[in-house]
């Protein structure tokens, strides 16, 4: 951006088209994965229809990338960042710097080879539904730095390789690998493959050439699927989190990381809405937790592996979690997580009933579908997990903050400043009314969060204390 004339409409860097082409094409192919799988392993392998559909969407991706480059303009005008794009459907966006939640700068492999960066501006709102993001997909370093400074987010140079500030956490390669291995998604991927093979064998026998016919073969296939899930999860973790670190500079939190695609996110402390401490059971046993820093952008809590630009610290030693959360929220009382109040006594009954009702129909269907009665053993396991979940639920409300925790296998603790609450609900179903319990649900910018079930009198007091006086 030319500092002398910031109000002139500017275009993306000429290399934008090439830099964005491969990632866009990859995203298109990824979104068409069922067709790709069908084309490779289906009964009519590589059918002309599948190939035409895949080619059509790939060409559409190329066209979209070209259109994005040709039509996008941006400028700083009257103190706002303005972006125009689109040909048939014209979009004009104006971003007030004081309303910006996050600024993220990202470099994929092609950005890095060409010395360009992608700059993403996120506003409050449900991303995807209300499309409040501003995306400048290929800028020169100088333009990006000038733009970031102009909208009040000066920071360390995007291109700097050293650590200009003391990193609060900088997980090494082993910790990043451990993060991937301890992700619950790895096991889910393996189980998903096993279920897919089972269903395909029932619906269309022989359509998957690798599916075994014997019992031991099944066990082997599930083990292979699980192992593949873990390997993929570890690889994804290394690509996403290698070299990750975070630090605080003034009143801004900065996060960066990534092997091929380097991502840097800048979040002003005053825009933080929530910190989530995620502790899946394996990661917990390793002595680590994951921290997720949420703003009003993105339409909900950030996903550790998702595309959101909000802040994530993949691996933090559990003994440091309290200090790290208080970096985000300096006013938070120390060790609040150790003094949480338990769920009400009736919460266990409610959880058991919900577990039975939730599992009964799928299990009956599974037994009828497969003829394997042992699937019913899942029910006592689900009840045990529900018991453990309730056992570990907890909550606390202080003058400044709310803390709530739930989950045993995948335990999460959320910390919200009360000043950010948007609305509050007191909810009771018929069973809860009979048990004299209920749930307080708080809505905050970008999401909603239920507290554990509490006794009715206590819940109503809590609801009243979180509501403004009438």
């Amino acid at each position: 951006m030319t500092v002398s004339d910031p109000s002139r409409w500017r275009r993306l860097h000429p290399a934008s088209f090439l830099v964005n082409l491969v990632p866009t094409a990859w995203r298109t192919v990824w979104s068409l994965w069922p067709l790709v799988v069908g084309a490779i392993w289906g009964r009519q392998q590589g059918s002309a229809f599948d190939v035409v559909v895949i080619l059509f969407f790939s060409m559409a991706a190329v066209g979209r990338t070209l259109l994005h480059f040709l039509t996008l303009r941006y400028r700083l005008f009257d103190g706002r960042l303005e972006i125009q794009s689109g040909l048939l459907s014209r979009v004009e966006q104006a971003f007030d710097p004081s309303r910006i939640q996050n600024v993220a700068i990202q470099q994929n492999l092609f950005h890095r080879l060409s010395g360009l960066v992608e700059l993403r501006v996120e506003m409050a709102g449900a991303s995807g539904l209300l499309a409040t993001d501003g995306l400048l997909s290929a800028l020169s370093l100088e333009d990006a730095e000038a733009l970031r400074a102009a909208i009040g987010r000066p920071g360390t140079s995007v291109a700097s390789s050293g650590a200009p500030h003391q990193a609060l956490d900088a997980p090494g390669l082993l910790e990043v690998v451990a993060y991937g291995a301890s992700s619950g998604r790895a096991g889910m991927a393996g189980a998903g493959v096993a279920v897919m093979v089972e269903v395909s064998q029932r619906v269309a026998p022989g359509s998957l050439p690798l599916a075994p016919a014997s019992g031991p073969g099944w066990v082997g296939l599930v083990l292979v699927a699980l192992a593949a899930g873990y390997v993929l999860s570890v690889l994804a973790s290394v690509f996403r989190w290698y070299g990750s670190r975070w630090w605080i500079e003034g009143e801004h939190l900065h996060f960066e990381g990534g092997l091929l695609t380097r991502r840097r996110v800048d979040i002003p402390q005053r825009k933080l809405q929530m910190v989530q401490v995620s502790e899946p059971i394996v990661r917990r046993a390793m002595g680590f937790a994951t921290l997720l820093f949420d703003t009003a952008a993105g339409g909900g809590p950030p996903e550790p592996g998702g595309s959101t630009t909000e802040g994530v610290v993949p691996m933090v030693a559990r003994e440091d979690v309290d200090d790290r959360v208080r970096v985000a929220f300096p006013g938070l009382e120390p060790n609040l997580g150790d003094t949480l109040r338990p769920a009400a006594a009736g919460a266990l009954t409610s959880a058991m009933v919900a577990s039975v009702l939730g599992w009964a129909l799928p299990l009956v269907a599974l037994v009828a579908f497969t003829g394997q009665g042992w699937f019913l053993l899942i029910l006592p396991v689900a009840l045990a997990v529900a018991w453990l979940d309730v056992r570990w639920q907890g909550w606390a409300v202080t003058p400044g903050f709310m803390v709530t925790r739930r989950g045993f296998l995948s335990r999460d603790t959320w910390v919200l400043p009360r000043a950010k609450l948007q609305s509050v609900r007191w909810v009771q179903g018929p069973l809860e009314r009979a048990l004299g319990i209920g749930s307080v649900v708080v809505w905050f910018p970008g999401g909603r969060l239920p507290l554990p079930l509490v006794a009715e009198a206590e819940g109503r007091r809590l609801f009243a204390s979180l509501s403004p006086p009438r």
Partner: protein
């Protein structure tokens, strides 16, 4: 606390009866298919008619209960809504947090001169609270009252 306009019961009944022909169609098809495979087409027809009758009965009776349990109050500081027959909810939206307020009218609402007031905060996922079945003039007054700028107050976003 205030109650909704009684005409909302007529609105909900109309919507429910129409819905028993339209939005319930997948239920009839699924039910008919499931029953016919085991018990034949005659039984399937009986089951579908029974299901339709149940939907109509619900559409006629349920709105009275919905109306009975729906209450709202607009105070200096907040909008409070109590709703739900089986699952009961009490919602409190601080007025300082309200980002915008809509009024909406569907086809049947226009016929009955009713409107719905929908309140949004920075939570952004969906509406935080909704007041269905207000007289249109009252809905406009409520909308304007809720939408009054709360200058100098933090919206929490």
């Amino acid at each position: 606390m205030r109650t909704l306009d009684p005409r909302v019961k007529t609105l909900w009944r109309l919507e429910g009866v129409v819905g028993s022909f339209t939005s319930a169609l997948p239920v009839y098809l699924l039910l008919g298919w499931a029953v016919s495979t085991g018990f034949g087409y005659g039984a399937a027809a009986v089951a579908v008619i029974a299901a339709w009758f149940a939907f109509v009965l619900r559409a006629l009776l349920w709105p009275s209960l919905q109306h009975r349990y729906f209450r709202y109050e607009i105070t200096e500081q907040s909008l409070v809504v109590e709703e739900g027959v089986v699952w009961r909810r009490t919602i409190c939206v601080p007025r300082a947090r309200i980002q915008h307020v809509d009024t909406r009218q569907g086809f049947w609402e226009r016929l009955l001169h009713l409107s719905r007031v929908i309140v949004y905060t920075g939570a952004g996922l969906s509406s935080d609270a909704s007041l269905p079945g207000l007289d249109t003039d009252e809905a406009i007054r409520v909308r304007d009252e809720l939408a009054q700028a709360r200058r100098g107050q933090d919206d929490g976003v």
